[in-house]
Amino acid sequence: MLNLFRIAIRNLMRYKRRTFLTASLITIGVVFVLVFIAVSGSFRNMMVGEITDSFLGHMQIHKKGYVASIDTLPLTMNMGTQAVKKVEKAISEVPGIEASSMRIKFGGMFSNFVETTNVRLNGVYPEDEIRTVPLFPERIIKGDKIIRKGEILVPELLAKGMKVKVGDMIVVVATNRDGSVNGKQFTVGGILESATGPGGRDGYIHMDDALEVLRMDGVEISEIALRLNDFSNLDEISGKLNNILSTELNKEGKPAFEVHTWEKLSPFYNIARMIDIMTLSIKVMLIAIVLISIMNVMIMAVYERIREIGTIAAIGTLPKKILSMFIIEGFSLGVLGALIGNIIGVSAVYLLNISELTFNFGRWQLLLMQ
């Protein structure tokens, strides 16, 4: 085998220009694909990280049917105290869950005493929320990075439209599940940057304030967001939780809860899927380019070396060994191009990484490589 490699390498060196051109083509292809995969992968991971770590969580648990009706934020589909206990028990039985955060989501009226508009609000326990979505404080672009009782974090666009700033007094009016209306004054504690996806333009208040506005006696939870120790275990943990919770049935005899991973909650998942498909397509294209260019060179080599092939065949070289010689030559050419391409590609990715180039995506300015 070593002798076949030796002959292959010498034959490649014999046609230096052709070898150089073909290896260069392969190199360029590999560099392009590596950089593309790195940039697209980085963008994908960064976006997923932004979405899951700043407001969505890695997965969420709701009462069955809540997600399908999420546009109306139905208070009638909240989980009651007993249901919450069952979910908390299920969470405690599944290892790998780092944190969880209970949320009451509701719609109300937001008034600055001059104008009134609609608002979607989340009532949360601040410590749990920050442990579950650790990038949440970074979304607070004005004001203290905390949710205090009596304060509200107002979404950026709402604050702009209603001309409110940190420290202003506003009123939130909401209807509870029994239909009675209640209002409460809040101080604007911070302005919240918008994020892409469901809940990305919601305001935040303390859970106790939410319970007060909604006149709830006990805790009623719209969703429980979860954060995992290891994001790569998402499907496994989601499956385990689903298995446990599927045994809890509602009055109709159907599962009382539903577990959704971020993929089922965020429209960005479709973009992520598209990135994955594009990456796969580019990889297939690269392999096709490499194989076709090597095949082209090898066909030329065979036609040029008919006499040599005849000679070694006459000497008694077995046909499969002759075939091996050309396959090894093509393989060596491919490996050479791929190796150089990898070195240059990895270097290029490293340089992009340390150069900290940024680009704008929607309202975000993101690093090209992270």
Partner: protein, 234 residues
């Protein structure tokens, strides 16, 4: 026991609607350790016959036995295997592998065809390169040596596997007279030393005289057989 026995061997090529009878019912025998020449004009069937004896092609009809084996219907793998063990080749254009040195060219059949152990390989290759007077050039590549030297290397390569038979198709056609005689004499010397049968085709009447037996081919048939005896022109 004859090394080669041909009985009524014919070879016909069909190209479109044209049928060419390259060999027409040849029958002959060649003894071991002989120095044989096939002569004849272009198109007389010399190369076709050498191709059949060398198992590079198969006869259309008739029986051809080489070294007690019927080679009339060998498959690709079997014929390659048979050639590797029994037959050496010398070509008109030398056909040394350009990416290998003189040493490596001679070593090639032992390395790539017969898998001979390294020590035995080295001894045999160096001995043969020495025998053909190329020991000082052993590390040179084919494009660094002359035509005569290339053919001497080709002779060494053909003999390195200790074949029973060496076939040489016009081995001196691309050489001047002096070099041609030198190559033929090296072939004769090797024949005497190793007992290998040499069969060569040629146009060169002066070289022909070196053969122990001459078969004259005309239109695919043996037109004559003579034994000049070889008179050592070198």
């Amino acid at each position: 026991m004859s090394l080669i026995i041909a009985e009524n061997v014919s070879k016909t090529y069909i190209s479109g609607e044209i049928t060419i009878e390259a060999l027409r019912g040849l029958s002959f025998q060649i003894e071991p350790a002989s120095f044989i020449s096939f002569v004849g004009p272009s198109g007389s069937g010399k190369t076709t016959l050498l191709n059949l004896i060398g198992c590079l092609d198969a006869p259309t009809s008739g029986t051809l036995r080489v070294s007690d084996a019927d080679v009339s219907h060998l498959g690709r793998k079997s014929s390659a295997d048979f050639r590797g063990k029994n037959i050496g080749f010398i070509f008109q254009d030398f056909n040394l592998l350009p990416v290998l040195t003189v040493y490596e060219n001679v070593e090639y059949p032992l390395l790539m065809v017969q898998d001979t152990p390294a020590i035995e390989r080295r001894d045999r290759v160096l001995s043969l390169i020495d025998s053909v007077g190329m020991i000082d050039q052993k590390d040179k590549y084919p494009d660094q040596i002359s035509g005569g030297q290339k053919q001497r290397v080709a002779v060494a390569r053909a003999l390195v596997t200790k074949p029973k038979l060496v076939l040489a198709d016009e081995p001196t056609a691309n050489l001047d007279h002096k070099t041609a005689y030198m190559v033929i004499n090296i072939m004769k010397k090797m024949k005497d030393e190793s007992g290998t049968t040499f069969i060569f085709s040629t146009h060169d009447q002066k070289v022909v005289g070196e053969a122990e037996m001459i078969f004259t081919l005309e239109d695919g048939e043996i037109a004559g057989k003579s034994a000049p005896g070889g008179n050592g022109h070198a």
